[in-house]
Amino acid sequence: MLLNEFLLLGAFLFCTGIYGVLTRKHAVLVLMSIELMLAAVNVNLVAFGAFHNTVVGQVFALFVLTIAAAEVGIGLAIVLLIYRNLHSADLDDLELMKD
């Protein structure tokens, strides 16, 4: 298999995640798009690990997974707090510091 197949798949997933982060309004959906980007990074890490036939890619992918899980936990707690205070999880409503 070509290494590029996996790298291009990762690039596509990453760009889809960028699009989601830029265009989604609901905070939970933005977090999902960030997960998409982290999954794309994992594909790249594991593909390079297989390419060099080492375990390092897998080890780093595991660290990325851990960070992603922590990030979702904290992120959703923050979203919940925002919803409790503003009664909306809409990122366009977060304009307290705008003017």
Partner: protein, 163 residues
């Protein structure tokens, strides 16, 4: 090799379509379910590359835990479920341009740099090798990540509790 390429193509197509579904669907719960397809497809690709341990960890942690967290988040924030309520802001076209530009740059660079590199699947990486590496070479990052998870756990509880 041919079978692997066919499997890769099918899984990659499913992942790409589901990824577009995550960022385009009008239903929040559907977005979470599309994310399951993307992450499960990622796990399948990892198995295809002979890296089993990270594949099963991805299934357990992402599909088992993170998606459930997302579904709880959707329920607790009363996300709009009706298709007439838009979930997107008005940055649709700038976002598309930015994403396509990045895809073009990344794709061009990758094709230019790695066009001849083949992945030679000699044998799958065994879980014992991975864990030996984590507990010898990467023991300090492993402990740091443990502390970070503990911090995230306490932080999430502190943030989300009602006082």
């Amino acid at each position: 090799m041919v079978a692997q390429n066919v499997a890769f193509s099918i899984i990659a197509a499913a992942m790409a379509l589901a990824a577009i579904g995550v960022v385009r669907t009008k239903n929040v719960v559907h977005a979470a379910l599309y994310l399951v397809v993307v992450l499960g497809g990622g796990a399948a690709q990892f198995i295809l590359l002979g890296q089993e341990f990270v594949a099963w960890v991805q299934v357990l942690v992402y599909i088992g835990a993170v998606i459930v967290l997302f579904l709880f988040g959707i329920m607790l924030t009363r996300a709009p479920m009706h298709p007439e309520e838009s979930l997107d802001n008005d940055l649709k076209w700038p976002g598309l341009v930015a994403a396509l530009f990045l895809l073009g740059v990344l794709g061009g660079l990758l094709i230019d740099t790695f066009h001849a590199d083949e992945i030679d699947l000699v044998r799958p990486i065994r879980t014992a090798q991975v864990t030996t590496s984590i507990f010898s070479n990467y023991i300090i990052p492993f402990e740091v990540v443990g502390i970070l998870l503990l911090g995230a756990l306490i932080g999430a509880v502190v943030l989300a509790r009602k006082d």
